[in-house]
Every structure is written in structure tokens, then in C-alpha cells.
Symmetry: C2
């Protein structure tokens, strides 16, 4: 069989980079048999020579100077696995200008310098592949770019951060506190020593920017995406969500709209039978709704040395097999993402209330004044805090701005105290998965209220009056 040699220049021997070295060592024959490509690790650069020895990179192909790799005329594909804005960004542009195909897992550079990178790659006739920058081994970038090339994406819901998904799963399934769940994630290698970027949703926002730019051809500044982390999620919110039939995920949301896509990152309740709910622990998953194909979902490992390295090598083979674009096909169309205040959302709200009659009535009255209908109310007493309880509500869909105004007002009501939560609900568009009864102000509706015995299986039905 005739084969074609592909010389790889690798920048960075961290978690993913060392995974690439290991995989290439054991899988080069397999890749040759499958594709006819003989992938060669020709040059490797890292600041730290000891890493090269640890991973077993031969001394003659190692350097501490990335430019030696970038300027080596023998190199066909530069694989950038350094991460961070700089110097990684400059290295990527240098590689492209030197006529090399580029494969990267760098979500910072790809999300922020999208147009510039694509323009440069097209004008130099090289491939720019970045599958591992969003979703890791989940083939979401190639699904959007290649498999849906004839389709229009209408909605993306993504669980794109393994750390937060692991933490929320532990809190929900094991009853762990957030601190304990984070510590467990660190123990198992699913969270960094400083997990703050992950917990605050910053990592998810960058990946969302990449997916949104791939799918919608808009220009997105990741730092401008509305982003809420999981820091304020309490265990009681997770159990209340479960009682209402939902699970909580840190969600990347992108919805197509004529004016420009709606983009946001925040914790969200999704129906328990939604396909995304099956993404547990460190898993990532992306749910897509597109015009012709309808609903689809991809689930898998979003991080980790070998899973991400597998995505990188698939990108290398793709770069070697695909004809590079002759012109930039990723130019944005000038639209801007929508302001979140214009979004329509429904939400789960939790308020801490004094154990006196009328709290539910006062809260629901405030919601009614903003025109927000309610589909479900649940109230129970705190076990460990006598005289206080909590009220949880599921609203109907309403403008985000009104929802937030009502939430802020209700928090200041007499008999209502901190803490309070607002968690949006997603994953119900497309199919109605949740049948509710709405309650207009002035009407009476039934709420399910836990019995004082604390036996969750025995519920009392209570009538709640909502003033008009």
C-alpha cells in the first residue's frame, strides 16, 4: 500500500501533549492501515526538557525553542497544545504564515481570534482544525462543520465542562457539599488545583463561543457572553429540582434568532428524561436542534489525556486528507449576539420564608404583577432551622428581564429572607416534555406541600390563593 508521510511538529508536552506522544507511539500503525498516512512525530518543543525525558521523546527531535518547530520546512502539521492566549496565539499565526496546517486544543485563542485565524488559514491555504478545543473527544465541532454542512442549527444546549458536571452530579447523587464535591473532583483529576474558571463558567463560555461561531457565523466575544457559574447552587436546589422532575447542569445555551443568536451560560434545570440528563460525572454532552435533522445529541469525554489526544490525532489526519479551503468560509455575517434581557425563559425560584401563613401568596402576587404565570409550587420547612422554610416555584415562560425583576422584588418581601435562587429551565423546546397547569393571578391553584413528618412520599395537597 502506498503511504504518505505527515511530519508533525508538537508544541507543549502537558496532559494532552504527552497523550499525543503516547498514542502516536502505539497507534501509528493503525492509522497507517486505516488512512495510508504515516504520522511521524518529527519535532517537539516544550519549555521543560525533563518532560521530554518523562514521555520518552527522543533528544534529537526535542527543543525548548518553539520557533525551531514553527520554521522547520519539513513540518507539515503544527499541533499547538500549550494553551492560553500568549505566546500560543503568536505561535499559531506563525505556523499558518509558514504554510503549515494547524491543529489546536486552545479554546482561548480559537474563541477570541476566530475571524483572524480563519482568514489567515484560508489565505495561506492551510487547514485549521480545533476539535479538541470544545467538547474534547465529543465530535461536536466536526458534527457542526461537516455533518451539518447542509443544515441550519437552531439550538445548542451543551454540558461542556467536566469539572462542574462532576461536582453537580456528586452533590445531587451523593448529597455532597460543593466543597467536598470539588475536593473529590480534584482527587480524581477532574478539577484543577484552582478550579475557579471552571466553576464560574468561564471555560464553558469560551467553548460556547467556538460552537456558536461554527454554527451561526456570527462574531462572538467570549467575555461578553452572559455567564453565571455554579457557585450559588445549594444541595436543596438539586433535591427540589429532582422533585419537580429535573436535573441541574451548567449549560451553554445558543439559540438562533433572526437578529442574532441568543447566547448564555448558566446553571439550568433540564427535564430528567432529556437526553442531556444522561451526561453524568465528568462527561460532556451537546444537544443540537437543526432545521432538517431535528434533534440530535453527542455524549462523551470532554477532557483527559488520551480522549483529547485522540481528537487531536483525528484532526491531524483530517488536515492531511482534506483539501484546504481556498478562501475563508468562516466569515461572520455582522450579526451580534442578543442581549440576555430579551431572552424568554422559564425558571425555578427558591425563597427562604418564615413559617407564617401567606408567604406563597405574597411571592406569587409579585410574580403575577410582572405577568409571570406559575406552573408549580412546593413548600417545606427547613429541618435544621426552626421557624423557617423554603418555597420553590416553577414559572411559565416569561421575558428574562421581568423574571429577574420579580425575583429581586420578591426577595425583599416581608417574611422572605436570604438565601434565594433563580435557576433557568432549558431543554423543553422542540417537544413539550412537561405538562403544567398555569395559574393566573386571582385564580386558585393546588400546590404540593411536604407533610411535616418529612416523609417525602406522603404529600399533602394545599390550595394556594394568588391575588390578582
Amino acid at each position: 500500500m502506498s503511504s504518505r508521510t505527515v511530519n508533525i511538529g508538537l508544541l507543549g508536552l502537558g496532559t494532552i501533549g504527552s497523550g499525543v506522544v503516547r498514542l502516536l507511539r502505539t497507534r501509528a500503525d493503525l492509522i497507517l492501515r486505516r488512512t495510508g498516512l504515516a504520522l511521524q512525530l518529527a519535532r517537539v518543543a516544550d519549555r521543560d526538557p525533563s518532560r521530554a525525558r518523562e514521555v520518552g521523546v527522543e533528544a534529537q527531535c526535542f527543543t525548548t525553542d518553539c520557533f525551531e518547530v514553527l520554521r522547520d520546512p519539513e513540518i507539515h502539521v503544527v499541533v499547538e497544545l500549550i494553551g492560553g492566549q500568549e505566546p500560543a496565539g503568536s505561535f499559531l499565526f506563525e505556523a499558518i504564515r509558514n504554510g503549515k496546517h494547524v491543529v489546536t486544543a486552545n479554546k482561548e485563542v480559537v474563541s477570541k481570534r476566530w475571524e483572524e485565524l480563519h482568514r489567515e488559514a484560508a489565505s495561506h491555504g492551510v487547514c485549521l482544525n480545533f476539535s479538541a478545543s470544545a467538547g474534547g473527544a465529543v465530535p461536536i465541532v466536526s458534527a457542526v462543520r461537516d455533518r451539518l454542512v447542509a443544515d441550519r442549527v437552531e439550538e445548542i444546549l451543551g454540558v461542556l465542562n467536566g469539572t462542574t458536571n462532576f461536582v453537580l452530579t456528586r452533590m445531587s447523587e451523593h448529597g455532597d457539599s460543593m466543597a467536598k464535591a470539588v475536593a473529590t473532583a480534584q482527587d480524581r483529576g477532574y478539577a484543577e488545583a484552582d478550579p475557579s474558571q471552571d466553576l464560574a463558567g468561564k471555560d464553558t463560555a469560551r467553548k460556547l463561543a467556538i460552537l456558536a461561531q461554527s454554527a451561526f457565523h456570527v462574531s462572538v466575544e467570549p467575555d461578553a457572553i452572559f455567564t453565571e457559574g455554579i457557585g450559588s447552587i445549594q444541595r436543596c436546589d438539586l433535591s427540589a429540582a429532582e422533585a419537580f422532575g429535573y436535573v441541574v447542569k451548567l449549560l451553554a445555551v445558543a439559540k438562533a434568532a433572526a437578529e442574532g443568536p441568543e447566547l448564555r451560560v448558566h446553571p439550568a434545570l433540564i427535564p430528567r428524561d432529556h437526553p442531556l440528563a444522561s451526561a453524568r460525572n465528568e462527561e460532556n454532552a451537546v444537544y443540537l436542534r437543526s432545521e432538517a435533522v431535528g434533534e440530535s445529541m453527542l455524549l462523551g469525554k470532554g477532557a483527559g489525556s488520551l480522549p483529547t489526544a485522540t481528537a487531536v490525532l483525528a484532526d491531524v489526519a483530517d488536515a492531511a486528507l482534506r483539501r484546504p479551503p481556498r478562501a475563508s468560509q468562516s466569515e461572520t455575517d455582522g450579526r451580534e449576539p442578543l442581549d440576555i434581557g430579551k431572552a424568554m425563559t422559564r425558571a425555578y425560584l427558591r425563597f427562604t420564608v418564615a413559617d407564617r401563613a401567606g408567604a406563597i401568596g405574597r411571592i406569587t402576587t409579585v410574580l403575577g404583577e410582572q405577568g409571570i404565570n406559575i406552573s408549580s409550587v412546593h413548600a417545606s420547612l427547613y429541618e435544621d432551622c426552626a421557624g423557617w422554610g423554603h418555597v420553590e416555584l416553577i414559572t411559565q415562560t416569561a421575558p428574562e428581564s421581568k423574571l429577574r425583576a420579580a425575583f429581586e422584588t420578591a426577595k425583599t418581601l416581608d417574611g422572605v429572607g436570604a438565601p434565594a435562587s433563580l435557576i433557568r429551565i432549558e431543554g423543553e423546546s422542540g417537544k413539550p416534555r412537561w405538562v403544567t397547569e398555569s395559574c393566573a393571578p386571582g385564580k386558585r391553584f393546588e400546590a404540593v406541600v411536604d407533610s411535616p413528618s418529612g416523609n417525602a412520599a406522603v404529600k399533602n395537597r394545599a390550595e394556594v390563593s394568588v391575588a390578582g
Copy 2:
């Protein structure tokens, strides 16, 4: 922007073919902007000229003679959407020999003539793309071929037939009989007028052959795959499965083994929290376990005019953008699939029993004699058949041959009558999702038995003795 014209020759204007015509009409601009490819529907052939008029194909590019398309020197890509062995198979080979890239959704030809097709395509330097032949719009073929090019697949579990998945979902969620569920599927366009190939698992077996040949590089004769359909599934099996924490799917199973892969198609219980369980109604889904990436899953529409046409157009763009292979990379390695008798499986068994003491003991004794341990037993009386009840068991993992021998023996026991069911359990490898207590012969164990009141929420615990 510079563009490249790709002339498409389309064979067949059925459901998928007319979807391709419609999509091309509305999406050609989008594809051009995204890829630089100007896809042109240059020639269309179908036996029936009235179809061309219905879909709005221009008269001057239509013909009833497929060879006019196959021999047209202007055509770059032939899209074969006729289906069936012949004449479609001959048309595919003719297209390849005429130097045209080939895109097909033909599961019969691709599954049965795998090696021959790949060899011809490689020797003529053309691409052979068949994404739509297995999984429809679910990008499973490209995931295995491209995204896992550096990985080794260890296990494939697929829900690959929309008709049977719809029927099982309706039976399980709506309590429909199979006849009623099939009629509903036909009403909604999810089942053909004659759904027997689908219900018998034949369609699934062909798709499994395609996935297995893609992933394992073995030669597979689809008709030789052990195939059981859903014909004997009863509603009571679905509710028993649910009570044990499972859902029932018609599953395509492929597991790597040194000697050759284990391949089979049969109804299977999978844990309710398994990602595949979220494939409901007509959806398809494929769960993969691979060495480096670990677990992943793809879910979406496995059929339908526009979803499948989207997969076909993605294959057309891929054929135009990818360098064709220089030699056949899909040669099989001479291994043969394993005989199912050598498989290790665990199963759900249901027996109809007379309402007399000792039935559970006699059945479990027979199982014990074959060395089969039991992890769960459940017994209840038939509501509509006085004096008879059913016993359901979940076994531990055992050789398929022993399981079947024990099942056949137990059916002939005194007080045990027809009907009886054996449904294998899958989806528990990788992670232990089901914690059981085993029961060796001669020991005593507890079984959960429904109370005669019929209130499923109130269970009585019964001790069952298993003779050694």
C-alpha cells in the same frame, strides 16, 4: 471567493432522493458559503418520470436510464438512493469504474459487498461514502472512520432501527399492544406497509454489519449475524423490565475479542440510566466504548427524508473535499465473527407458572444446575388468568449456551407453562450500574414478590430456597 463546481448525478427519487433535491434547492448557497463548493444537481434518474415532475426536477436533466448518469463525463459524484441489491449494486460498481466518487445510503449493498466496494473505490482513486446507510443522520460512520482513527473500538451497542424503537417505546410508555403500536408507527410514517424486515431485526443486522466492518476490519456476512426480532416481546416483559430498573431496546451488539468480534442483534434490557435509554420513539442511538476515548454516545434521527438527505449531502461535500485513498485501507484481517454460543450474557427470564408453592424453587434449581447464578427474582399473579402467575428472574453473567439450555429445560418443568421469555441484558459493562447479590445453589436468598393486593408499591419479601 473562489468556488469549485461539483456535478452530482442522482439515482433514485424516493423518500431520500426527493429530500436531496429539496435540500439542494434551498441549501446550495449555504454549502457554497461554508465550503467553497458549488453543488449542482446535474443529472437525475428514476424509473418513474412523474416523480421528477412532483419534486420539480427540470426535464432536461432527468432520464429514466441510470447509465446516462453513470457514463456522463461531467458527473463528479454519483449519489445512489435506489436501495436493494440489484440493480443498485451494479450501478455503484459502474460509477466507481467510471472514476466517480460514490455516495450511497444502500445498506444491503454496503453491508454485503464491503470488501469488493472498498477495493474498487481505492483502485480507481475515488471516495466511497455511506454515512446514511447506518444511523441515518446520526454521524456514527464518520465517528468510527474519522474521529476514532487513532482509537480501537471495544464495544458498540446500537439502537439502529426507528420502527422497532418506536414500537417498543409505545408499548412501554402507552401500554399499547404490539399490533396497535405497529399501526401507529405506520400512521406516522415510522414503519413501512410491510414492517416485517424491521421487526425481525434484519434491517438492524445489515447496519450492524456496516458498523462492525468499519470498526473491526473483519469480513461480516449480515445474514450470518445471530438475529432475533421483537416479535415475541410482551407488554408484561416491558413492565417487568421497568420494575427491575431497565428499558427494552432492539439492540445491535458488537464486542471486540482477540479471536474476532462478537456480533448479535436481539431485544435487550439496558439499565434505565444508560445513555442509550434516552433514545425514545423513532430515534436511533449508538453507544461506543473505545480504548482511548472510553464511553461515548451519538443520538439522533436514523431515518426520514430530510435528516437522511442531510447526511447524504455531508457525504457529497466530504467526497469533494477529501483526498481519495490511494489504496484500500478497509481490507479485512481474515478474522470471523464469533459464534453466539460462546458469548457471555446475563438475561431476564420470564416463566408462566401455576399458582402453587415451589415453582420458583424448581426453576432456580434448573438454573443452578447449569451454574447460572441469580441476582433477582420477582413473582406475581396474572390478573386475568386465575390460578396462573409469572416468575421473572435476572441472572448473573453466564455462557449463552448454558443460559439457553437452562431456559429450555425450565420451560418443560411441572407447573411451568407457555409463554416464556428470554431477553438478554446489555449496557452494564464498563461501569457496574447494577449491584446484585448472587445466589449459589443450596443457599437461601430473598426475593421481592408483589403482594396479592396488586399494589406494586407494597412489596413483600419472600425467602426462596435454591436447591444445590
